[in-house]
C-alpha cells in the first residue's frame, strides 16, 4: 500500500535531509524511478552458457564506460579517478565473479546471480561495526544497480534539460559523473552517506547535493521547481515568490564571497609554501552546526560544552545524573555525526570563574582565581564522570577527542585520567561501544601549565592553548574591567614567550598544539601563530574563511623570522607597532 502522499502542486513544501555537497541550486525536478527486476529461475528458455556470456560482456561494457569517464575527467581530479579505479576492482573481484558463475551454473539468470551475490557482500559490509565500512555497502548496491541496468539494457534517460535537479533513491559514482557531463544543477537522494562515492564526487564537481531526504522520489513531481540549500541540507519544492527572491539573494551573497576569496577556499588549509595547518571552528551552540563555514574546516577544535549543554535545566529541573548523562550524550553524538568524519574536540565543562555566577553562587571574593574549571569537576567526580561517559559513548564513530580546562597541576591531569579510565571500565562492563583510542588533551591557559608543558606531555595526547585566559592570568588583567583592560594584551612579550616555550616543549615530545581563541582574527596575528608553530588554529565560524585566506598568503619561513623579531621587543606596544596592529 502506498502511504507516502505526493506533495500538492503549487504549494511550497520544505523537505529536510543531510547536506552532502555545499552550495545553492535552483532547478526543475527530474525523478529517477527505481526499476525492479524479476529474477528468472531456471526455466526451459535459459541457457547457462548465454547467461555467463551476458554477465562477462556486461563487465566489459561497464568497464568501457568507466574508461570513457576517466578520460573525460582528466588526471587532475585524482579523487574521481581513484573512485573509478576502485569500481573496476570490484567488477573484477574474483570472489564476486566466482559466486555469480556458481549461481548461474545452478540454472539461474545472470540478473538473479548478480543481485544475490552483491546482496550477500552488502550484508557482510553492513554487519561491520565501522561506519565508514557500512557506507561502502551502499556504494556496492549502487554498483549493483548500475550493473543490473546494463544487464537489462535499461539506460538512464540521456536527454536531460538544462537546470535539472536529479532526484533519485541512490546514485552510483558513474551516474553522478554522467549527470555532471549534462551540467545538471543539483542532486537529491533518499539514501546515502556523506563519505560515499556519490557525495565525494558531488563535492569534487561542486554540485550542490542533499542526501537522506526520505521518500523524495515519491513526494516530488517531475518538472517541479526545486531549491537546494546544500549548506543546511534543506530543499524547497514549489517556492513562493518571496522564498525565491530571498534564495536568489543568498546565491548572490555566496557568489560574491566566493569571488572575493577565490580558489583558495576549496583547497586544504595551507601556507603559501605548502605547510598544512588544520583549521577548526569553535562551537558554542547547536544552531551553529548549520553555519555553512563548517564545510571549509578540518573539524571542530573547541566545543564549549558549558554553552552547548543546557546545564540550567539539569539544576532546575532536577534531572538525575544518568538522565543528564543521556541528554549530554544525545547532543554530543548529534555534533559528532554532523561533523563525521571530521574530528570534534569536546572540552569538559569550564564552570565557575565568571561563568554562571547565579547557578553556583559560591560567593568567592575572587572567582577567577577560585573554584573553576577542572577544580570544580574533580570536586564533583560523579558529575564529571557523567560527562566523560557521555563523551565516550559519543565517540563510537571514532571522530571525537576530549580536553580538560584550567589545568594548573600534574595531579589534576592524573586524577582526570583515572576517572576517564574508570568510565571506560564501566562502559565496557555495561556493554557500551566507544573509541578505545579516544585522544585526551588539556588546555594550556595558565602560566603554570605552560611552564610544565614538558612534564604534562608525558600524560596527554595533545595541547590546546587558550589565549584569553593565558593572557589574563599572565598579566593579571581582566579584560572586562575597564580600569585594567589596557593591560590585557596577547602581544605582551611575556605572553608570546610563554606560548613559544610551551609549543617548543610540546613539539619536543612529539605532541600537537592547537590554539583556540580569537587571536587569529587579524592577518598579522595569524602570521605570529604560524611562526610559533601551531599545528591547528580554531576560530569562530564567522572568521573561518578569512583566516583560511590569510593562512594561504603566509610564507611559513617568513613567519618564523617575523616571530623572532617580535620576540626581541620589550613592550606590547612595540610588538603591536611592528605588526601594525592598532
Amino acid at each position: 500500500m502506498e502511504v507516502t502522499k505526493k506533495i500538492r502542486r503549487n504549494t511550497e513544501t520544505i523537505l529536510k535531509g543531510i547536506p552532502a555537497s555545499k552550495g545553492y541550486a535552483i532547478g526543475n525536478a527530474f525523478i529517477i524511478r527505481d526499476f525492479t527486476i524479476n529474477p528468472i529461475n531456471s526455466g526451459d528458455n535459459i541457457s547457462t552458457e548465454d547467461e555467463l556470456k551476458r554477465f562477462l560482456q556486461t563487465i566489459e561494457e561497464y568497464e568501457n564506460e568507466l574508461e570513457k569517464y576517466t578520460k573525460n575527467i582528466g588526471k587532475e581530479n585524482l579523487l574521481a579517478v581513484e573512485i573509478l579505479e576502485s569500481i573496476k576492482l570490484i567488477l573484477h573481484d574474483p570472489e564476486i565473479i566466482e559466486s555469480v558463475k556458481k549461481i548461474i551454473n545452478e540454472g539461474k539468470s545472470a540478473e538473479y546471480a548478480v543481485l544475490k551475490t552483491y546482496q550477500k557482500y552488502e550484508n557482510a559490509l553492513l554487519s561491520v561495526q565501522n561506519k565508514l565500512i557500512r557506507e561502502r555497502a551502499l556504494e556496492l548496491s549502487q554498483i549493483r544497480n548500475k550493473f543490473l541496468e546494463l544487464l537489462i539494457n535499461k539506460k538512464v534517460s540521456t536527454s536531460i534539460p538544462k537546470d535539472t535537479i536529479v532526484v533519485a533513491t541512490t546514485l552510483s559514482a558513474d551516474q553522478v559523473i554522467a549527470f555532471k557531463e549534462k551540467n545538471i544543477a543539483g542532486l537529491i537522494t533518499e539514501m546515502g552517506g556523506i563519505t560515499t562515492h556519490c557525495s565525494i564526487l558531488a563535492r569534487s564537481f561542486r554540485i550542490p547535493m542533499v542526501i537522506g531526504v526520505a521518500n523524495a522520489t515519491k513526494m516530488l513531481n517531475n518538472g517541479e521547481r526545486i531549491l537546494i540549500d546544500g549548506y543546511k541540507g534543506i530543499i524547497v519544492a514549489n517556492p513562493k515568490r518571496k522564498t525565491l527572491v530571498e534564495f536568489k539573494s543568498k546565491i548572490e551573497d555566496e557568489s560574491q564571497l566566493l569571488r572575493e576569496l577565490g580558489e583558495v577556499i576549496y583547497q586544504p588549509t595551507q601556507t603559501r609554501d605548502g605547510r598544512r595547518i588544520e583549521l577548526h571552528a569553535n562551537l558554542n551552540y547547536r544552531f551553529e552546526l548549520d553555519d555553512p563555514e563548517l564545510y571549509y574546516t578540518d573539524g571542530i577544535g573547541l566545543v564549549r560544552t558549558e554553552h552547548l549543554i543546557p546545564i540550567y535545566e539539569f539544576y532546575n529541573k532536577g534531572l538525575t545524573l544518568s538522565e543528564f548523562e543521556q541528554l549530554q550524550y544525545e547532543i554530543y553524538h548529534e555534533v559528532a555525526l554532523k561533523m563525521f568524519p571530521k574530528i570534534v574536540t569536546f572540552r569538559a565543562f569550564d564552570l565557575g570563574g565568571d561563568k554562571f555566577p547565579g547557578l553556583f553562587a559560591l560567593n568567592e571574593t575572587n572567582p577567577m582565581l577560585g573554584f573553576r574549571g577542572i577544580r570544580y569537576l574533580l570536586a564533583n567526580p560523579d558529575f564529571f564522570k557523567a560527562q566523560l561517559r557521555a563523551f565516550l559513548k559519543a565517540s563510537i564513530e571514532k571522530n571525537v577527542q576530549i580536553m580538560i580546562p584550567m589545568i594548573t597541576t600534574v595531579e589534576e591531569v592524573l586524577d582526570s585520567l583515572k576517572l576517564l579510565n574508570e568510565c571506560k571500565q564501566e562502559l565496557k562492563r555495561d556493554g557500551f561501544e566507544f573509541d578505545h583510542n579516544l585522544k585526551f588533551g588539556i588546555m594550556i591557559e595558565t602560566p603554570a601549565a605552560a611552564l610544565q608543558t614538558g612534564v604534562l606531555a608525558k600524560y596527554v595526547d595533545f595541547f590546546s592553548i587558550g589565549t584569553n585566559d593565558l593572557t589574563q592570568y599572565t598579566l593579571v588583567a581582566d579584560r572586562e574591567n575597564s580600569r585594567v583592560s589596557s593591560y590585557f594584551s596577547p602581544f605582551h612579550p611575556s605572553v608570546l614567550a610563554l606560548m613559544k616555550y610551551s609549543i617548543d616543549r610540546a613539539k619536543a615530545h612529539g605532541k600537537t598544539v592547537g590554539i583556540c581563541g580569537e587571536l587569529a582574527s587579524h592577518p598579522a596575528a595569524t602570521t605570529i601563530l604560524i611562526g610559533l608553530g601551531f599545528d591547528s588554529i580554531s576560530v569562530s565560524t564567522q572568521n573561518i574563511l578569512l583566516v583560511k585566506k590569510w593562512i594561504s598568503e603566509i610564507d611559513s619561513n617568513n613567519s618564523r623570522e617575523i616571530l623572532e623579531k617580535a620576540l626581541t621587543f620589550e613592550t606590547s606596544d612595540q610588538v603591536r607597532d611592528f605588526l601594525d596592529i592598532g
Binding site: 576502485s86 576492482l89 574474483p94 570472489e95 559490509l125 561491520v128 561495526q129 565501522n130 565500512i133
Partner: protein, 88 residues
C-alpha cells in the same frame, strides 16, 4: 606455503584505497594470497573481502602466500604494509 606478520601503520588503517593497493599488488602474482586478522581470513585478491577485514592502525595482519611465486609475492605485500600504503 609461506606466511608472515605485518602491522598496519598508516593512521587511517586499511580502508578502501589501501585495500585497492593490496589487490593490485596481490593480483600481479600467481600465488594464492590470504590475509588474516584474529582468525578471520579473506582472499587478498578480492577488494570486497578486504573491505570486510577490520584493520585499523596497529592491527597485526597475517599474510599467507601459496604458489610458485610465493616468495616474491609475500615480499611485495610486506613492503606495501611497511610503507603504510604510501599514506605516511
Amino acid at each position: 606455503m609461506i606466511a608472515d606478520y605485518v602491522e598496519v601503520i598508516n593512521p587511517a588503517g586499511m580502508h578502501t584505497r589501501p585495500a585497492a593497493e593490496i589487490v593490485k599488488t596481490a593480483s600481479k602474482f600467481k600465488s594464492k594470497i590470504i590475509l588474516e586478522v584474529d582468525g578471520y581470513s579473506v582472499n587478498g585478491k578480492s577488494i570486497i573481502g578486504l573491505m570486510t577485514l577490520p584493520a585499523p592502525q596497529g592491527t597485526k595482519v597475517k599474510i599467507v602466500a601459496d604458489g610458485d611465486d610465493e616468495e616474491i609475492a609475500l615480499k611485495a605485500l610486506k613492503e606495501l604494509f611497511e610503507r603504510g600504503f604510501d599514506e605516511i
